[in-house]
């Protein structure tokens, strides 16, 4: 059976479709609509009876995956937004100001509140300000300090205070009461799902690997739009169980795996199928990426940061606000990459220098030097744009990828 037609992949399609349908239906019936940046803790919204949320970044990634990224980017560019801006932002602005036309999800409706943060990048704040100014909607900003080391305890408390402010703001704007008990329940669903997610990712250790990074890119979608729900927990259990069964049955995505690679950056959403197919034909499997391994962890790590029943959800959510690579520095990034290389037996690293994400990309030249020196494995840097296919050249990328594989082979042959 094709992996894309497996029960877990079919379930992914189903729960994502249902999620967007539910969002649109409830929004049409008067729910309070919030647009959020991806790291804004969605579990908080579970504390309200009738709040729904959408994630523009997720919508942009989906648009790019469905081949309409460049089209939406062009709409934003015609409105005066520079082609040098993040392609997620351009896709989303293009979609929003064309009333959802050409969107795979019929757009995201109109929000009652937008919530951004500056941990992944400060530009999210500028991006969401575009909607605040154009539509006169309130914009709540979460200020999350960058980490060069572990998150400082004073920063954690600062973030917690802001979460409390966000809750008060939603209460004020929506007229709804907040119930922390419901957030406890949501946290348990998230934690359950995260534990299964980590179990799923562990199958990359197997030789040949039980997964490819492209599986994890596709499967991360519920992290953005369904955290804190029973569907979230059930889906990742299904995914991990299914992957376990495949490994036990000897069913591997790249059965003739000769090269085990690591990917560093956001997924190239418009290239997933083409890139995975072509790499597999060469016996190469990109088995993991910090981009998908970081969920549920602390900055600089990929291990599950546990949430136990009775813990303070706001504290937990604040403590994990720096987990997504972009909000932490070079020392931590090198540590996280090193652990993955060692744990997964990586033969080479693909650093995807991403013009649309300077924050992710701007330490990669140093990371590359450090990895080559410490682990003595070949690395390559390729140019990508995570969502604007016009800024990607398959031939240029594969010229380098092929060279990487040749270098690995040459090193093996002494």
């Amino acid at each position: 059976m094709s992996r894309r037609k497996s029960p877990a992949f079919a379930n992914l399609t189903q729960i994502m479709r249902d999620g967007y349908m539910d969002f649109h239906t409830r929004a049409a019936n008067g729910a309070f609509v919030v647009w959020i940046a991806i790291i804004v803790p969605a579990e908080i919204f579970a504390g309200f009876d009738n709040v729904v949320y959408a994630v523009p970044e997720s919508h942009a990634a989906m648009s790019a995956g469905r081949g309409v990224g460049a089209l939406q980017c062009e709409k934003a560019e015609k409105l005066g937004y520079s082609m040098d801006l993040c392609s997620y932002a351009r896709i989303d602005i293009g979609t929003a100001f064309d009333n959802g036309k050409d969107s795979p999800t019929m757009g995201l409706g109109r929000p009652n509140l937008v919530v951004s943060d500056n941990n992944n990048c400060s530009l999210l704040v500028k991006w969401f300000d575009v909607y605040r100014r154009e539509w006169n909607v309130p914009h709540f900003i979460l200020d999350v300090p960058f980490c060069y080391g572990s998150q400082k305890p004073s920063d954690t408390l600062y973030i917690v205070e802001q979460f409390k402010g966000l809750i008060s703001e939603i209460e004020r704007l929506s007229g709804q009461d907040f119930d922390m008990e419901k957030v406890h329940q949501a946290m348990e669903y998230t934690q359950d799902g995260l534990a299964h997610w980590k179990r799923f990712l562990e199958f990359a250790k197997h030789r040949p690997s039980g997964i490819t990074v492209f599986d994890s890119f596709v499967q991360m979608a519920p992290f953005l739009t369904l955290r804190g729900t029973p569907q979230f927990a059930a889906h990742y259990k299904m995914l991990a169980d299914e992957t376990q069964k495949r490994v036990e049955d000897g069913d591997f995505p790249v059965p003739n795996e000769k090269f085990r690679l690591l990917w560093d950056n956001i997924a190239p959403w418009h290239q997933l199928r083409a890139m995975s197919k072509r790499l597999a034909e060469m016996g190469a499997n990109i088995v993991a990426a910090p981009y998908t391994s970081c969920f549920g962890s602390l900055e600089g790590g990929h291990e599950l940061y546990p949430y136990k029943k009775g813990d303070d959800p706001l504290f937990y959510l604040a403590r994990t606000q720096n987990n997504t690579v972009c909000p932490y520095g070079l020392t931590l990034r090198e540590k996280a990459l090193g652990r993955a290389i060692e744990k997964l037996g990586i033969d080479g690293v693909v650093f995807a220098s991403n013009r649309s994400c300077k924050v992710f990309s701007l330490m990669q030249l140093d990371e590359k030097m450090a990895v080559e020196k410490k682990y003595d494995i070949p690395c390559v840097m390729i140019d990508v744009d995570h969502a604007d296919s016009r800024k990607y050249s398959e031939s240029a990328a594969f010229l380098r990828l092929e060279a990487l594989l040749e270098n690995i082979e040459a090193a093996r042959n002494g």
Binding site: L79, G80, Y81, S82, D84, L85, C86, A89, N118, C121, S122, L123, V125, K126, W127, D129, V130, R133, I141, D143, P145, F146, Y148, S154, D155, Y158, E161, Q162, G165, G329, L330, T331, S353, R355, K358, V359, S361, L362, M363, Q364, L365, D366
Partner: protein, 372 residues
């Protein structure tokens, strides 16, 4: 050669180092220079670099070419210096690029056998009207002070800080006067820019004296007759060659909100201890796209400036790859068009001399439209 708008800055750096005080290379845009100064540190703000023919060999090894010229140029300087003149790097969360660079540069300096201390201040990106935000910022300033005290022999004192803050406020006042004089045509705009950029590499006392002398010499109406007065808006000033193009096209710069010029000088914060001073400094700064809570005030502030200076148009100088500015341009352009003020957007970096001819064509066409 490391240049500052065409002039070699290495002698200035060496002179600072020879004073015997630690020299801190501060990342733009608005570092807390008064605090460093009060603790016996010589702050230099690492911007305005470029304009020479030197290649960015060292920076290119560590920083991709889609990073703005400000970031790439300061990287080149720090890596070239390798800790010989600069004892420390001081950064705050001015932008995503700049928050990523300190460790990269520290590693690069170490690789060459040098060493450089690293300091970072998180300035809240949200309003300090929220009490918890201001108390958080106060703690950050105190923490920053205690870290700096490890570098220097002079501990922080409010008295010293107030003295330093007074000098910087006086320097800002001189900057304002020079800017106004330039807007009236009493001082060439190019000279105003040079004063602003050179100030970053001079002790503030020397820059203050230079500013006073310049003000004393500012005289006569240099504005060409029939020239159209315009405001220049953006992060960095354009290269001198571009200013010449503007002049030849019949445009006269009557005001600006460039970051090292008017945005820096427009307001002197109230004198207070360091925490209070900087809460005021960052909260009530002249609007800047990088100081997120101030950005909404920018259209009105620019409009007021345009009215005060009699500007007929605004030219936005988009620093190449500065996404903070890019997100605001469509909104600003629309705002000014609604106010009946023509606006032109150009994109380039400080050291980008290759596209002057292309920009010249656009400037000439814009000037012709204004003349009609």
């Amino acid at each position: 050669m490391h240049t500052l708008w065409g002039g070699d800055i290495v002698p200035a750096l060496k002179k600072l180092k020879d004073r015997g005080r630690p020299v801190a290379g501060c990342f733009p845009l608005y570092p807390p220079q008064e605090l460093l100064h009060s603790m016996g540190i010589s702050p230099v703000v690492l911007w305005g670099l470029g304009g020479g023919s030197n290649k960015l060999v060292l920076a290119d090894e560590r920083v991709q070419n889609f990073v703005c010229a400000v970031g790439r140029r300061l990287s080149q300087l720090v890596l070239w210096d390798a800790g010989k003149s600069l004892d420390a790097l001081f950064a705050y969360n001015a932008c995503d690029t700049l928050r990523n660079l300190p460790e990269v540069l520290e590693a690069g300096v170490a690789e060459q056998g040098g060493s450089i201390s690293r300091f970072f201040l998180h300035v809240p990106a949200i309003s300090m009207q929220r009490p918890e935000t201001k108390s958080y910022f106060t703690r950050n300033i105190k923490q920053c002070i205690s870290e700096l005290e490890a570098l220097v022999t002079i501990p922080y004192s409010t008295e010293s800080f107030l003295q330093s803050a007074s000098i910087y406020n006086e320097w800002r006042a001189i900057g304002r006067e020079l800017d106004i004089a330039s807007g009236k045509g009493n001082l060439p705009f190019e000279q105003l820019v040079r004063f602003a950029l050179e100030a970053a590499f001079l002790p503030v006392e020397e820059s203050l004296a230079a500013g006073k002398a310049l003000l004393g010499d500012a005289d006569g109406n240099l504005a060409p007759k029939n020239a159209v007065p315009v405001i220049l808006s953006g992060i960095m000033p354009p290269p001198p060659a571009f200013l010449k193009v503007m002049e030849e096209a019949g445009l006269f710069v009557c005001g600006n909100d460039l970051a090292p010029l008017w945005r820096t000088w427009a307001r002197s914060p109230k004198l207070a201890d360091a925490a209070e001073f900087y809460a005021d400094f960052y909260s009530n700064h002249f609007p800047c796209s990088t100081l997120l809570p101030t950005a909404d005030r920018r259209p009105a502030a620019l409009l007021e400036l345009a009215r005060q200076r009699g500007a007929k148009a605004i030219v936005f100088i988009g620093e190449k790859f500065c996404e903070y500015e890019y997100f605001e341009f469509p909104y600003l352009e629309k705002f000014f068009k609604n106010q009946g003020i023509a606006a032109l957007l150009l994109e380039f970096g400080l050291d980008d001399l290759s596209n002057v001819a292309q920009h010249a064509t656009r400037i000439e066409a814009f000037a012709e439209t204004l003349a009609q």
